[in-house]
Structure formats: structure tokens, C-alpha cells
Symmetry: none
Subunit: 233 residues, 2 copies
DNA sequence: GGTCCGTGATGGATGACTTCCACTGCTCCT
DNA sequence: AGGAGCAGTGGAAGTCATCCATCACGGACC
């Protein structure tokens, strides 16, 4: 599980026993730790958004909420569940408007694990149907549906995954090998022409003029462009 | 706050330090304590229903869930939030379909208070709408009944739970594994084909054309769609 | 103790999807 | 202008997920 951890001393956090960082590490989470000054690159975050946000607030609850307010405005963190680690003394200052969960320090790894499972259970239902829009194209990633001007596309699974990936990473050209590894999976063994064929069927189903959104870049690969942005260039 | 407490030894419960009973007493709650055999009068309960249900399960989690199942069927407890007190050792056996929140014993009163406030906030925000409508389908979650165009469906328990879950989370595709963990319980280990079977039986009972509301998404799973929304394709 | 009902497992059939192959057409470089 | 290489096209075969029929098990109820 990918976790974004905000803590006082990011470097030393995991070495402290009974800290949220140590517990997350023990649970085998993929943790990226940052301080409350948030020294991370927002683009990096967008490419690989975390599934969970953990705020190691302890005594510094006000500072943590201030940071959380900033984090909530970042698009890649929209709808991400949050767990706030807090001391017993500061429990009374907790603010539940965020609708998330809290845990006491010292952290019991088994409890943290249970709260993760609980959040997963609660949020699975809530995870807002996130939609990706590019020009006339609209993709409902949770419903596995794609629309062009409200006309529903009848896509196969692989076609949908390819279109979704291109749309989520629009503007950038992807080689066939990259697409195979990212859309088909890292262990894929096969010819790169498979990508061509899926692009072809995708274009056919998109229809004119939306098919022009998938551009072929000779000797490199494919990219999906926003027609509005593309038109001025 | 009126609390119904289910614990092993109702008479002595409050005298034990760090027990849920003692913590509730310290918080000034109006506690009525009963054993797991539930020796209370249902009429009394109806006249003065509790606002919270606390299960002091500790090691006896299975027994607590069994009791909870019985309690859930009592009309005066419909929609009452539940907190399960459990030991660290039994955390891994928690089933989140049943309880709304949990707390570790020994209980820290301040934490219990915080969890009460959290539950209060959560329940105020989502005042359980016990009737779900999707197209011609109408589900009465508290009455365990489902209707299609006012024709009552004769569903089994598992079929009803599956339909309810899909209806409450319509539009989103769920994998078989997700459905197993959310509808059957996360501890369920078995073939994913079980989901197929129940979907098939559900479709048969829904009848045409309502059966088309449950869509199969190849390579992913199932979802329930609102036919009105779906019609734009 | 027998029967019915709910639940989940198994194996085969079906049909859709993915992939590969051979060919054609196009683009860019020389 | 010619050629090499890359991308698009059509068809065909293999694979795989889903659906379906049937059966086995366990509990509830009579």
C-alpha cells in the first residue's frame, strides 16, 4: 500500500519504535515520508498518488490540521483517506469534520492495520467516481466506461485500459514498450505490434473527429492530445 | 448519553478499571449493562432506546458478533451505532461489516470519548436512508425487502446483501474479490465463482428487463447501473 | 430422523477478446 | 525518384473469462 507520511523528522521517523512510520514499515507499506513543510514535488505525487495519508501529529495537532488543509487542495490527494496519529493529551482537540480516522501514539501495529482495513472498507464505497476529461472524451475510471460527447463507447478491457492510461498521461509520447509494460503489465512478453492494433481499434471506436486525439509519433510511439491545446500548435 | 452495554459480567463490569464499563461511567453515560445472553425486556428497550451500543467483546469476538446479529434484528436498535471493545490479540478477527468502530482494551477514557464524538459526527452526516431506489428497483434495507415495479422479490439473505451493496454503490465496478470481502466478509476464503453464481440467481429473480441493471465487466467484475443514466449511450 | 432450503463447488460449453501473421500503404532519407 | 523502414489493414487462430447445469454439504424445520 502506498502511503504518504507527514511527520516531524522524516529521516529518522522509521527508526523510532512505536511510531506511525515504524508501524507502517512493519506492515510492509510503501512509505514516502515528508516534513510538515511539504518538500515534495506535486508532479511526482500526481504520477504515483498515495492510497493513504498519515499525519504523525502527536502534540502538534494545529500544525497538522493546517498542513492537511493544504494537502486537501492538491488534486492527486482528493478523496484520499487520512489517519491522524495523536497523543492521549491532545485527543480532545481532534476535529472530525474531515471525516477520517485517528490513532493513538504509541502506535500498536495491529491496531493500525485494523484501522487501515476499516478505512478501506469505508472508503471503497465512497471513492468518488473519478472522471477524466480530455476534449470531447470523458472516462469514468471506476465504472469502466468511456464517452465521446455523451455517446458511450463499447470498449473491451484492454482498449479501455489503454485509453485510460493515455488520457491520464496525456500530452506525453509513450513508446510501445512503455505502453506494453504500463498497460499490459511488466511481465508481458510479445510483439510491440499488439499496441498498434489496439490503437487502431480504439480510433475506430472513437470515431471522427475524436480519433485524431490519438496521435502517432513516428519512430517513437503514441500520445493522446487535448484537441483544444493541440489546435493552437 | 444512553448506552446499552453488552459485557461478560454485567454486575461487576464497572468496578474493573480500564474496562469499557468504567470508561463509560467516567464519561457520565447512562449505562445499562447486560450479559451476552441478553436478558433484557425488548419492550423496555423500545420505550427508551439507547443511542449507542457497546460490545465488550475482548477475547470473545465470535460470541460478540453472534450476539450483535441478534441485536441488529431488534427494531429499537436499527441504525444504532456500535463500538466493539477488543484485545490487541483479536484485532485481526474484526469484521467491519458488523461494527461501526472498535477500541482496544485496556480502554483509555479520552479515546473512547473521542470515538463517541467521531461516531456522533459520522452518523449525523449520513442519517441512514433506509430506502434505496435505482430505476425500477427499490430496496428497503431495514425491512430486508426488495421490489421491482412494486413486485416483491423473494431473495435469500446473501442475495439481498449482494443486491443492497451493489445498489448502495451503483455505477462503480467491483471485482469479485472486493465483493467477497465486502458482502461475504473479508475473512472469506473461497473461489470467486461464488460471486458469479449469486449474480446469476439475482438476475433470474430480478427478471427482464431489470436483470440488465447488473452488468458484467469482463476482466473486472460486476456493477449495478441506473438504466436512466445508462440510456444515454 | 427425514426433508427442504440456502449456499458454495465443479466441469463443460460458449463466445468474446487478444494476439499473431502476411500484406499494403505511407513517410522520410539518400 | 527510389528504397528502406515503419505504421495501418484484414483475417484467422488460440486463449481465456463468463455462463450454465448439476451436485454436495450443512443447517433449519417439521
Amino acid at each position: 500500500m502506498k502511503v504518504l507520511l507527514i511527520t516531524l523528522e522524516p529521516e529518522r521517523a522509521a527508526s523510532e519504535p512505536e511510531s506511525p512510520a515504524a508501524a507502517l514499515r512493519d506492515l510492509g507499506c510503501d512509505v514516502r515520508a515528508f516534513g510538515f513543510d511539504l518538500g515534495f514535488d506535486e508532479d511526482d505525487l500526481s504520477k504515483d498518488p498515495p492510497q493513504l495519508l498519515v499525519l504523525d501529529a502527536r502534540e502538534r495537532l494545529e500544525m497538522a490540521y493546517s498542513t492537511l488543509k493544504t494537502l486537501r487542495d492538491l488534486p492527486p490527494l482528493q478523496g484520499t483517506p487520512v489517519i491522524v496519529a495523536v497523543t492521549t493529551q491532545r485527543l480532545s482537540s481532534l476535529d472530525f469534520r474531515a471525516g477520517d480516522d485517528f490513532i493513538l501514539v504509541p502506535v500498536v501495529p495491529a491496531e493500525l492495520y485494523a484501522r487501515l482495513r476499516q478505512l478501506d472498507w469505508r472508503f471503497a464505497a465512497f471513492s468518488a467516481a473519478d472522471r477524466v476529461k480530455v476534449g470531447d472524451l470523458e472516462i469514468d475510471t471506476s465504472g469502466y466506461e468511456a464517452f465521446v460527447r455523451d455517446r458511450k463507447l463499447d470498449l473491451t478491457h484492454q482498449e479501455f485500459e489503454l485509453l485510460k492510461f493515455l488520457a491520464q498521461n496525456r500530452g506525453k509520447v509513450w513508446t510501445r514498450e512503455q505502453l506494453l509494460s504500463k498497460v499490459w503489465g511488466y511481465r508481458y512478453f510479445g510483439g510491440t505490434r499488439t499496441v498498434d492494433i489496439h490503437v487502431r481499434r480504439l480510433r475506430a471506436k472513437l470515431g471522427s473527429p475524436a480519433d485524431a486525439m490519438i496521435e502517432t509519433v513516428r519512430n517513437v510511439g503514441y500520445k493522446l492530445v487535448d484537441p483544444i491545446v493541440g489546435a493552437r500548435g
